[in-house]
Amino acid sequence: MKTKWKKWTADYGLFFLAVICLISIWEWIVLAGAVPAFILPSPTAIWGSLVENRELLFGEHLPATLLEVLIGFGFSLAGGLLFGIGMHFSRSLEKILYPFLVISQTVPLIAISPIFILWFGYTIWSKVAVTFLIAFFPIVVSTYDGLKAGGNEYRELLRTMGANRWMIFKKIQVPMALPSILSGLKMAVVYSVTGATIGEWLGASEGLGYFSRRMSGNLQADSVFAAIFLLSLMGICLFLVISFIEKRLLKNVMRGR
């Protein structure tokens, strides 16, 4: 019991100390007027706005954004793995797809947002599409690179057992690629939050991104930052979920590496 508490303090004590320091400094800077409160509101003001708008934020906007994030991440996961695996298996597919992948990341969303609206309208799917576009890239790259990385000798062994490509893929390459894939997933889940936020800017009627844009238009910086706070919190929680899954999945895979 005691050691658990000790471990926890050692792990997170410093983090909370840092957070408290940071928040204090922040509060002090704003109170001292070094940064105007309408540009960077003080932590207490943000907290106040969070409490004041709690029903709206937690009851309506947070669930809406979370739904977009989860659906978008789901598609990214499926699409990213599919593309990554496809590119691994087919050299031609790789040569065709890679340039398009890079293009998909360098095209400024603002410039092609009309296309999204044209195709998806103002439904949840336009937000899902933006999320997908942003989050699937790290999954593809890390899946593809992860599958490349390895296990030549193990593969040869399985071939002598008469294994086909699929078997080798399943039994050797997937386990060996897992660390890389999960590294990509961690990035992707964070980007999913960004994606949903940007998606909501393209036109929405609910969600934290919508709320923050609306409040920004109303020059209510504290409400804007309250929404940002929740977005970050969502990102951190989702990140921790993937990290936890990573720990579980990699427990055995990391053996002997």
């Binding site: 000798e153 193990y154 040869e156 062994l157 399985l158 071939r159 002598t160 057992m161 008469g162 294994a163 078997m167 039994k171 050797i172 386990p175 055995n252 895979v253 990391m254 053996r255 002997g256 590496r257």
Partner: protein
Amino acid sequence: MRGAIGLSDTLMLSIHDLTYAFQGNRPIFQKINLTVNPGEFVSVIGSSGSGKSTLFKLITGLLEPDQGKIGINGDFSGGRLGKVGYMPQKDLLLPWRPVLDNVLLPLEVRGKKGNLAEAREWLSRFGLSDYENAFPDELSGGMRQRAAFLRTMMTGKDLLLLDEPFGALDALTKRKMHSWLLGLWEDLQKTVLFITHDLEEAILLSDRIYLIGDGNVQEWKVNLPRPRNSEQIYQPAFIELRKELERLIHHEN
């Protein structure tokens, strides 16, 4: 004898005029010939780097000969992958699988459900029953090699290629394995091609020995009657054979 245990007379393995070189290097084999009859136990010895492991990779089909032909069970045409049981020199146990799952791998690969009871029985015969849930990095070197050997057995192939299976076993376990193999292996109806560095082992177990060196092979018949037993190594006749073989190796080099 072979007929009696149901093995046909086709050659289990035949290698014709095999030539092979790694890219840019001089040939490791030059037109070598080598045959193994069904039910035979044949050893391959040769100095380090002479190409023993490479020969095995050629037989399994991992490498293709530059010239010449390799036939498994009289079949010279098709691919050889999946036709023989191969135990590599490194154990190559999958680090993320416990021993039992490693041993069941060949069955999984062929899409069969492993017979757990049978696998457990084998594990205990190999002295690994306490370790079926241990991961490879928790095993000693010898245990790993036993697990790898067992995995090769589980392929269920008639021709087994064993690359130094007993290399990391302690004297006692090795002796036990020898006894076990000698006592059991004709029942197993297996044909074995066996790489070893241990001349005693080679003489004790084999019907014939191939010596590899300088791109050539040389055949040497072991004139010891079967059944044999592991006590024989102290007999003068055996020691004489060993000296003879050793002289042959020295002469070769």
